[in-house]
Symmetry: C2
Subunit: 198 residues, 2 copies
């Protein structure tokens, strides 16, 4: 009875959808299971470009994501740099930990990137402070994120997603059905309500 | 006071949006000005792949477009072939003609592709029959579509769109603001209503 939520901190639509999917899942008695994945791995596997690599699309995407954030009632601003290397934050978010703590950590990391005026998530000391701020052992998480298990975990999650037909973020997997993008959350909600079964 | 609607018959989301944009524009006292453009030209200009060229995305897009069509209350089915060459239909749709006739022609051509069980729009005799079916001179339109003015017109519209920052279809241009995708029509409606000015 979970909604699997595949995301990358690089993606502004993942940020907006992270807030919305929890509200939608809760309305239908579901829990969200967040799965950090490397969006760049999808692009590599499919031999295509991300929206941020097409200048015209890049400008539009930031504007549209801001609109979507306003509509969802979440604060929004551009991170200090973009694109940036999301590996550290993704590996930290994937470490073994209590699931409620993980949700708080992901929310805080996303906020540091897309909440507006935040520090981003590329600096280890910053990421450690963010983790400690939600009650986790920041220093231990940073140390673990540099180890082979954390690297293998992210690579395996990304590869498994590609094998399952995932090509973008955010992706919601619900009862074997794949939904792509913040825009698809209305479809997710109808699917959970049994209003649109296919 | 127009909403410019840039589209390609190759795109299922253009089909769904073509129906929705007219309802939305009418609600706000606007007229839709359809502009046929060659989506493949955008991909070439930006050096990227279309959704139909990424197998995982292709499967998803047809499913999601079907969902969006159901939600919009328009019939939907896959065309006899896809991808297909949309040049003839795009050139015919861009010929000089009465604007009400153009809207009827575009609706009929879209229906022949995405309405379900239709003949597609690659065969000249079929396209001529579709045009005649909405009261136009089908044979004359097919003849004109093979001429240089029709080819130049489509190329110029596509190039002008690229120069204006357009990268996909459907694109709605409203008072200088660009909106991309069927999913963006809710944003278009809020923009027209003055509820989300940026």
């Amino acid at each position: 009875m979970v909604v699997r939520f595949l995301f990358d901190f690089i993606s502004p639509y993942s940020y907006v959808a992270w807030h919305r999917v929890q509200v939608i899942a809760a309305r239908h008695g579901r829990t969200v299971e967040p799965v950090p994945v490397l969006f760049a791995g999808f692009l590599r596997a499919h031999g295509t470009k991300g929206p941020a690599e097409v200048p015209a699309k890049r400008a539009y995407v930031f504007k549209d994501a801001a609109r979507s954030a306003r509509l969802a009632g979440v604060s929004f601003g551009l991170p200090p740099e973009h694109p940036f290397n999301p590996l550290l934050a993704l590996r930290v978010a994937g470490e073994p930990m209590d699931e409620e703590a993980r949700r708080a950590l992901i929310t805080a990391l996303f906020h540091a990137v897309w909440g507006g005026g935040g520090p981003g998530v590329t600096d280890p000391a910053t990421v450690a402070a963010i983790a400690s701020g939600v009650g986790l052992d920041g220093a231990a998480l940073i140390a673990a994120a540099g180890g082979e298990p954390a690297k293998t975990r992210l690579r395996a999650a990304t590869d498994a997603a590609i094998a399952a037909g995932v090509f973008g973020v955010p992706t919601m997997l619900v009862d074997g059905e794949l939904f792509w993008g913040n825009d698809s959350l209305d479809h997710v909600e109808r699917f959970l309500a049994g209003e649109d079964p296919a």
